[in-house]
Amino acid sequence: MATKSCMSSQVSVDEQKKRENIRSLTMSGHVGFESLPDQLVNRSIQQGFCFNILCVGETGIGKSTLIDTLFNTNFEDHESSHFCPHVRLKAQTYELQESNVRLKLTIVNTVGFGDQINKEESYQPIVDYIDAQFEAYLQEELKIKRSLFNYHDSRVHACLYFISPTGHSLKTLDLLAMKSLDSKVNIIPVIAKADAISKTELQKFKIKLMSELVSNGVQIYQFPTDDETVAKINASMNGHLPFAVVGSMDEVKVGNKLVKARQYPWGIVQVENENHCDFVKLREMLICTNMEDLREQTHTRHYELYRRCKLEEMGFSDVGPENKPLSLQETYEAKRHQIYGERQRKEEEMKQMFVQRVKEKEAILKEAERELQAKFEHLKRVHQEERMKLEEKRRLLEEEIISFSKKKATSEIYQNQTFMGSNLKKDKDRKKEPGYRCDLLCFDVRAFETKGGRNDAEEGRECPSTMGRNE
């Protein structure tokens, strides 16, 4: 069991005193600071107390009933369903008051634990919840403007783990769950529904459970035995672990008193009867004797462990290179410089990259521009050539037109000479086919008189150079 760091034994106090060169003085009269513990207590009464219990166990095992019985109050009425797809944690806070002590009690219940067919992920939500509470506290502690004295401490102080009263051994799920929780929270295993086991079986069951826990290396909470006032009772209670409990808020008449009990046809199981179950022991240990120790363990051991791991993860260390002690400030500053430098570097990188990309893009665009230019040139050239060709063709065509006009002129003169005989007929035909006049000029003058003359005329159209030869 890990040593408790702040409960210094008398020996180390003396050593410390010697180290610090502190004198112990005897006083010559009554000063009055014996009231200091009372002053402290008064302040605590003003502030109120905070206690958070986590109940882990299967649905229907009696978690809510046990809590009700422990605190003698009916907290919540409805039963949970068995059909939850995942394990959920439900936290509820209550304000209790007993005489002048106010207690802010938070009960966290696991809903749906052990109900799924695949129980692999069952205990992870629980671990996550506990870590989340530590994280919230750490956040508050690390704030600049913080108010720790005002802070509603939600860290889990005690975990009641409910074991099924099978009488055989721990279930795998129980072992795994407890193993993953034992370094984060004070685990107090209890055997639920203890009225289902006989006395002899119970004894064997307890031994079996404890040996299983020990052999698997599960560290459950041991009641502290270093303070004389409570050492004896705590030590003896440690021997009764795990407590076999029965919970009930129903009252049954036994003798002439009304007691909390469960009534069966064969008898009455009294909750507060130590012969029947260990309920009273649990209440004693959990609330009356060790509540303060549970809170302290949570803060000085479990939370410190979490904090250490978290800060180391963040990169802080108490010892710098060459094993020289580092102050948190130095680490902060160093980290800050480092991150700042990194940011600068990244900015540079991004700038470079940006410039690079811009350059590349520019190059591409330039390339494209060049290509376009080339194409344009090319097209222009082609166009020029075409144009020249067409010019050429046009010139040729014009020449032909000119030569043709000449020939036409010549043939007209020729025609006028042979005009006599065929004048009338020419006119008639001309009227019939006015569109043909152009071609007619290419005819042999005798063509339109004969049938074959038309064929000749078509031939003549195609080879204008034969014009004139037909004479």
Partner: protein, 312 residues
């Protein structure tokens, strides 16, 4: 996961207000026992108290401390002895003792400031140097002003002086202990007002015992009689002792821890540009150079008090 909810208790007979759903437990649960647990733990760990005395040498500071704690914390310097040239710089001198009373261990550290008070001459009233000093001091620590060597003043002179000092303090808004802003409820206010009426206490310190009327008392023997330290008619030493030790010691420590230290912490963290914001801590821009340290103590909010008696 549902957020923490308050529960309506069906078993409570008082009408439930939505703000205070306290459940009254029926029968015995044992929550009270936690008080005993705390006491045991406190007794085991012991208590600590650190006190600093400031003032002219020869005013009887060492004697006062010795009287307060009924032990030879310091060897009181005999008056009139030339201690050489007054040191120009302030040198603090601490001494730690462990005293025990009825099982309660107290680790007491007393710090003296030789050389300071000698620059101060506040016989008549507080001078600007004192005012300035007190103003700054009040922001970092709980200050309890005390009229020393009160046996050289008559009762009327005492009252006169007291009024003058009170007026001075008020005018310059020097917030001495018990600070008004930390009064929590009406009881506190009443109690503290009574104390504030009498501040600064006129005290006499003595560590020798004399016999007066058959009783052994601590006192100063003078030519014209014995000034009894613990006699309320002679001086207000019992008031100071009660305030410091018997009733307000824990409160002094609380205010130092929750207010003065937190203020210091904020100022210090701000000036080093450290802005931790959790695991994803990334903020790099330094806080603006002219971000002021907190001007004064922030209000201590203790546990939200829903005293049932106020409701019904």
């Amino acid at each position: 996961m549902d957020p923490p909810r308050q529960c309506p208790s069906p078993s409570s007979s008082r009408p439930i207000s939505p703000r205070t759903p306290s459940c009254e437990t029926l029968g015995y649960v044992g929550i009270e026992a936690v008080l005993d647990q705390m006491k045991i733990k406190a007794m085991k760990m012991g208590f600590e108290f650190n006190i600093m005395v400031v003032g002219q040498s020869g005013l009887g500071k060492s004697t006062m401390v010795n009287t307060l704690f009924k032990s030879k914390i310091w060897k009181s310097t005999p008056s009139g002895l030339a201690l050489g040239p007054i040191p120009q710089t302030l040198q603090l001198h601490s001494v730690t003792h462990v005293i025990e009373e009825k099982g309660v261990k107290l680790k007491l550290t007393v710090t003296d400031t030789p050389g300071f008070g000698d620059q101060i001459n506040n016989d008549k009233c507080l001078r600007p140097l004192d005012i300035e000093f007190l103003q700054r001091l009040c922001r970092t620590v709980n200050v309890v002003p005390v009229i020393a060597r009160a046996d050289s003043l008559t009762m009327e002179e005492r009252e006169d002086f007291r009024r003058r000092i009170q007026h001075n303090l008020r005018t310059h808004s020097i917030d001495v202990y018990p600070q008004e802003c930390f009064d929590e409820d009406i009881n506190d206010k009443i109690l503290n007002c009574k104390i504030r009426e009498r501040i600064p206490f006129a005290v006499v310190g003595a560590d020798r015992e004399h016999v007066v009327n058959g009783r052994c008392v601590l006192g100063r023997k003078t030519k014209w009689g014995i000034v009894e330290v613990e006699n309320m008619k002679h001086c207000e030493f019992p008031l100071l002792r009660d305030l410091l030790i018997r009733s307000h010691l824990q409160d002094l420590k609380d205010i130092t821890h929750n207010v003065h230290y937190e203020n210091y912490r904020v100022g210090r963290l701000n000036e080093s540009h450290m802005l931790p914001r959790g695991p994803g801590w990334v903020t790099l821009d330094p806080a603006p150079a002219n971000s002021p340290a907190l001007p004064g103590p922030s209000k201590v909010c203790r546990w939200a008090q829903d005293t049932p008696s106020e409701e019904y």
